[in-house]
Assembly symmetry: C2
Homo-oligomer: 201 residues x 2
């Protein structure tokens, strides 16, 4: 149902939420946002999710930074989002494509050590080779040392949040750069500080 309202260009987007499982969840989110420079992405928050759009590197930079700054509080925090590119439609936020490639939040993000458990799924649309494309990105995650195992409908990644986000970004970029007009979505559920016993991996 999403097809009629997104972009034709190589602008990348992410629609996501941060879920801090605490009574003061609003404060955790607002404090995290205060620490993140979002000036290089188009950003809009509604009552369900936040959408950021811009150059791939800034979308991943901002998504990672908001999650890390919320998770460093030691509260159980989950990031749940879908990265997208190539969806036919509008061009809102295209002016952000002229930003340079310097990441504004990387320096602060890499200082934090947040252990995460992650499940991701890649959806290369309109592509008969999609299973092969997915399998290739499993190999990338293995090279990064973040791949743990496949589960139903997803792949599991474990490790430091900075390393896991690196795999997410690399896999996503690899897939959408494969074809000039590709339309790709990637879902990610990233959990930190869960009280649940870590699954045997």
């Amino acid at each position: 149902m999403q097809g009629l309202s997104c972009s034709t260009s190589r602008i990348v987007g992410c629609r996501f939420s941060i879920y801090p499982m605490t009574d003061n969840f609003v404060e955790v989110i607002l404090n995290a946002l205060r620490e993140v420079d979002t000036s290089k992405v188009w950003m809009e928050t509604d009552d369900v999710t936040t959408c950021i759009r811009g150059r791939s590197e800034h979308v991943f930079d901002v998504a990672k930074a908001i999650f890390i700054h919320a998770a460093k509080t030691s509260v159980h925090v989950v990031f749940n989002g879908t990265f997208s590119v190539g969806c036919p439609g509008d061009s809102e936020g295209n002016s952000y494509m002229s930003m340079n490639d310097e990441r504004l939040n990387e320096e602060a993000s890499i200082k934090e050590k947040v252990e995460v458990a992650t499940q991701i799924a890649l959806y290369p649309l309109n592509n008969p080779d999609y299973l092969q494309i997915i399998a290739e990105q499993v190999e990338v995650a293995k090279e990064h040392g973040t791949f743990t195992k496949g589960v139903h409908y997803a792949s599991r990644l474990d490790g430091d949040a900075n390393d896991v986000f690196k795999t997410l970004e690399q896999s996503f970029v690899n897939v959408y750069k494969t074809h000039e007009h590709s339309h790709v979505a990637m879902t990610a559920t990233i959990s930190a500080n869960s009280p649940s016993k870590k699954e045997a991996i």
Copy 2:
């Protein structure tokens, strides 16, 4: 990356989490689970998500019931999940396909009135007509009276949780029944009791 670990049959699955934004989130989830009969689905919970698999009607019945029983507490609760069908791979849980079609939780679910704001995205894979397929399901949501508008990368549905889940299920079933061997994913973010001001719709 998910492609190598799911089912070839018409078994439907949902990998999801329930996020209650409260200090006692564990209790909210466990109390909701106690009220739901999950005996007609294969179910496995790890430290990131829960995966349920079985006949389409039971997967939607169980997902809806867990969310509704968590949300009726008036805590801000979000359901975030991906429904999938037709992913090539294993056959775990296929024995649940022999269950009859009587829904075990519908009676209790429809008694609850929970207002939700929802964003969904449909991903019909390996299909050059995917945008048309998505547009057709927007029409279904309009007929149900749950469709609010398109947003970047998603469609927004509003209304009672029972009505919104009906649209989710109908749209998903419509799409995967279009083609015998179709592979379809549908993401849904369903929010209840948010303190955020409801967006103008």
